[in-house]
């Protein structure tokens, strides 16, 4: 059924940028994990890099790939295939290729130099972030015909969730520090997929000192196990919503 996804998957695996990305992740993970004998500390260092690099590469690469495929998508559409199926297949192909790149780049070193016990949450959030930001990429590339604008939107989305969002949260915290805003803060922190991914890993590593304000509140409210469950659900929502929006748009789009 998902034959197109299969072909796209193999096409991307041969792509030089993806090969380079895998290699880069591998070298970083290998050196970070090799440097520190304390697994937890090493995982934390790696976490910060993963949180920046994985979303960035996933969203930019996917956006460019979708734009480059526009004529190919037209050709596929002239075949007897439902529109939605084509879009879904591209999504599956892209995200599975990026997941594989991540698993090879980060998953393997974690298994080799760390332990699955400390590293499994990091592997999960890397996979989730790859898919989430591929979904964002599909949304931003369907939004505009102009490639430069689409890539611009993608960069902004990344910048927003990776940097700006935390800034806004900090400002809010200081401004309203006199009020009981823990609940709101925890919710707001949970809305950002990157922030949530961080909290997810820290919850699993069970190091409250590193959780930061919003993380601590989060743990306070949801607890460790429940918090992880809820984070997972929210991350899945972050995959579904952007993708479904792009799916609806694609079905109505004039190509």
């Amino acid at each position: 059924m998902n034959n197109i996804a299969k072909f796209i998957f193999f096409d991307i695996l041969k792509n030089k940028i993806v090969l380079l990305y895998t290699l880069l992740l591998f070298v970083i993970s290998w050196s970070v994990l090799g440097l520190d004998s304390n697994y937890t500390k090493a995982t934390l260092s790696l976490l910060n890099i993963v949180l920046l690099v994985v979303p960035l590469v996933s969203i930019i690469f996917s956006t460019i790939y979708v734009y480059n495929s526009s004529q190919f998508i037209e050709l596929l559409l002239s075949q007897p295939i439902a529109r939605g199926k084509i879009w879904l297949n591209i999504f599956i192909g892209l995200s599975s290729a990026l997941i594989l790149a991540y698993l090879l780049g980060c998953g393997v070193p974690i298994l080799l130099y760390s332990s699955l016990e400390t590293g499994f949450s990091l592997i999960i959030i890397g996979v989730m972030l790859s898919v989430i930001f591929t979904a964002f990429a599909m949304l931003s590339s369907i939004g505009s015909r102009d490639r430069a604008k689409g890539i611009g939107i993608s960069i902004f989305v990344w910048l927003f969730f990776a940097i700006i969002y935390d800034g806004i949260l900090l400002v809010l915290m200081f401004q309203f520090s006199d009020y009981p805003i823990e609940g709101i803060m925890a919710t707001l922190a949970a809305i950002n997929p990157i922030g949530l991914a961080r909290i997810f890993v820290l919850l699993q590593l069970n190091i409250s000192a590193m959780l930061g304000y919003s993380g601590a509140v989060f743990k306070d409210i949801f607890g460790s196990g429940g918090g992880m469950g809820i984070s997972m659900v929210i991350l899945f929502i972050w995959i579904a919503v952007p993708f479904l929006l792009s799916y609806i748009k694609f079905n109505k789009k004039d190509l």
Binding site: F7, F72, S78, P80, L255
Partner: protein, 237 residues
């Protein structure tokens, strides 16, 4: 057979197609011509389902394009510019499209594939191909599944003389089998031997829809290009 009924297509405020009514019958090869931006490509894209049809309707073999995508089984399409996933080989690209169609091997029309001698470069990646070779792949894909309707967008642009001769002969052969061929082209001189009907469009409207003989006798010309030029001259006040 393709029947277009009251088709109006707007992009924001720009009207690309304005109340187009036209009917293409099997066994004809139709040339869609007109100046840039006259709505040719939009019309083709509407037929293929690339553009969403809202006002009016298109019936392909009596099936509305709005209802189900399966009507495209009967259509082969060769785009003007083909771009394929870079790292796929020619063989993989063809295989992928084959997979979507589920047509058994012995029903495939591999005549063009053999004539273009693509099998000898089956392992080449799409990225490394020249524009002309990519066009050959597109042409092969358009004819491969023996569709009843074949739509070609600027088919000979970029092809070398030999390849475009092969393609032309193929087009004539398929037309004689009773298929419907729709061609858009700017190279009017190329159309003479292939085309049996002319559709001339301008500003989203069909200005002329005539058989080639009618057009020639009416305009007292010997070539399609000359008749078109005489239409164009008439249009200018």
């Amino acid at each position: 057979m393709i029947e277009i009924k009251n088709l109006t297509k707007k992009f924001n405020k720009f009207t690309a197609l304005n109340e187009v009514n036209i009917r293409f019958n099997d066994g004809h090869s139709v040339a869609l011509i007109g100046p840039n931006g006259c709505g040719k490509t939009t019309l083709i894209k509407c037929i293929l389902g690339l553009n969403v049809v809202e006002d009016g309707d298109i019936l392909v073999n009596n099936e509305s394009v709005k209802e189900h995508y399966l009507y495209r089984k009967n259509i082969g399409y060769m785009p003007q510019i083909g771009r394929y996933p870079e790292n796929m080989t020619i063989a993989q690209t063809i295989q992928m499209i084959k997979d979507t169609r589920k047509v058994s091997e012995n029903e495939l029309d591999t005549e063009l594939l053999e004539a273009f001698e693509l099998e000898s470069i089956f392992d080449k990646k799409m990225r490394t191909l020249s524009g002309g070779t990519t066009q050959k792949v597109s042409a092969v894909l358009a004819f491969l599944f023996n569709p009843g309707i074949i739509i070609l967008d600027e088919p000979t642009a970029g092809l070398d003389p030999l390849a475009s001769e092969i393609l032309k002969n193929k087009i004539i052969k398929e037309k004689n089998k009773g298929k419907l061929i729709i061609i858009t082209s700017h190279l009017l001189s190329e159309l003479d031997d292939i085309v049996s009907e002319i559709v001339f469009m301008n500003e989203g409207k069909v200005i002329v829809h005539q058989s080639v003989e009618e057009l020639m006798t009416e305009r007292k010309t010997e070539k399609i290009s000359e008749s078109i030029i005489s239409i164009l001259k008439e249009m200018k006040p």
